[in-house]
Symmetry: C2
Subunit: 315 residues, 2 copies
């Protein structure tokens, strides 16, 4: 049984979609147990309303609200009884295998960083790793939006973490790593990318291709744009009734991805989309269980430690 | 008659697609004259091969080659007899109304800046303004990729130039201006955007909506991504045979846009896509003629000067 703690109060449509999503996730998978973290009476009333009476969902009382614009570090310090902080704290105590929130993403990042901790001291900042579809295969975009204003060396760490994730999660052997830049020439683009490019050339990763590293700001713009374009496409055409049309709708519906994993943490922290509906929450819980079952975090961390130790003597 | 100078040697598939594109543009519009700038004998031989014998195309000899990775300022200084520099220099001499190149975009930007000059000293850097489709209406993305590593005040100038362009070209009254950022809260995102946000709040433009200002790096990533997504769609589905399908294909085919205008210059400098085919070049020539005919550059510049003079007393 994989145990996933879910912030019942996270996201624009919480708590209703969180609770619906949890119910759908456990109904589809007898091997998942969801711990809903939120105001106990409210959450239990919602479960009852949905008619859920099984034993794959439990509730932990976490009444503190967290606003979308609250300062991340203040949330961790002052809102220990919020759904967001509680879902991470339960993992630290060994009571669950993964933690999911669609709430304040900066606060979720800070909670994971401060409570679970980084897996490796030499690794600068945990980024969000997202497996994005392309026509033929999946690539890893890293960072999807957990950070801003990174140094060149942090972008290189993102590339390394993305490479470890592509190996551990997508099963790619010796994945190729590149930087998201505006031209093919290495002297093009922002100064920090030019510096990162030079650093990456000497890093023990395979340069160019399966993994695209970029600033969290840029990665987040990329994700929002793809989402917007997909939504416009669906509004214009709906799901096109051909095998390609179904594949396209499955591939690009951001809800199908569920949530994205923070890389380089001692544990599994999943950041789900603030706009998540019940389906997105269901898929995020499902993704969390899959990451836990496949031991992805530990595999990423082992690979990360190996790459970092290879890198160290060169510094 | 609108005269457009076209760099015959610019872009990945030059000169053939440039010459084909020029021939198509003049065949469709009796009011356009194209001055092809490139190695005279080669260009004339290509025109003959295409069977073009009309008088809407002339050739100016400009034999120097410009590589995609050549340093922009060096191109302006040392390659005065290149198609790229010549097409801009002809405009400075008053011999043509607009200049188009699909070649080294940094060099095209530098040529326009150094030869045509900025329209307004207080304006920091000319950005590329792109009118992008959305489901309902067009918005202006600015900068599309002419700059990198901008200061906050430069991003504010992009917003102002984009606002002037939305008025002059799209006919929007008092367009709303925003920054491309990763969250709705004003304290989110990179430090430079937070600073620009504060500056923009006190600038004499209408904040949020029709115009999206961002770094040239980010804007370029946005354009490439939309292009990639559209191409994937076309490969999967082709043009869908419904009114929505045709509209989608027209809206999102980057070739239909032709080239993008540099804003805030004394003249019309058009940067076309390096991957341009003959259709894209035809449309870029056509766009250049439209900008010239509608006097867009002067209108943008007048509006820019007015906004800048409103802004100045506050500084």
């Amino acid at each position: 049984m994989i145990k996933v703690a879910l912030d019942a109060m996270g996201g624009d449509y919480a708590p209703s979609v969180c609770i619906e999503g949890a119910v759908s996730a456990v109904k589809k998978n007898p091997n998942i147990h969801v711990v809903l973290c939120g105001p106990e009476a409210e959450v239990k009333a919602s479960l009852e309303k949905l008619g859920y009476t099984g034993n794959q969902i439990s509730v932990v009382d976490a009444p503190d609200p967290v606003a979308m614009d609250e300062h991340p570090v203040m949330v961790v310090k002052k809102k220990q009884h919020s759904g967001l902080v509680t879902c991470v704290a339960l993992q630290k105590k060994g009571l669950v295998d993964a933690s999911v929130s669609a709430g304040n993403s900066g606060a979720m990042m800070a909670s994971c960083l401060m409570i679970l901790g980084k897996s490796c001291d030499e690794f600068s900042r945990p980024p969000i790793g997202v497996a994005l579809p392309t026509k033929d295969r999946r690539i890893v975009l890293v960072d999807g939006g957990a950070n801003v204003d990174e140094r060149a060396s942090t972008l290189v760490d993102f590339a390394i973490a993305g490479s470890a994730f592509a190996e551990a999660y997508l099963g790619y052997e010796n994945p190729k790593v590149g930087l998201l830049n505006m031209g093919e020439e290495e002297h093009k683009g922002p100064a920090v990318l030019q510096e990162a490019y030079q650093l990456l050339k000497s890093a023990p990763v395979n340069f160019m291709g399966d993994v695209v590293a970029c600033s969290g700001y840029t990665g987040n713009v990329v994700l929002k744009l793809l989402e917007g374009f997909f939504e416009m496409h669906q509004e214009m055409f709906g799901t096109i009734d051909t095998p390609a049309g179904k594949r396209f709708a499955e591939m690009w519906d951001y809800r199908a991805t569920g949530g994205a994993l923070l890389l380089g943490l001692n544990g599994i922290g999943i950041i789900a989309h603030g706009r998540s509906d019940a389906l997105a929450i269901e898929k995020a819980v499902d993704a969390a269980a899959k990451y836990a079952e496949a031991d992805v975090a530990n595999k990423v961390n082992a690979r990360l430690a190996a790459i970092k130790s290879e890198e160290a003597p060169k510094a």
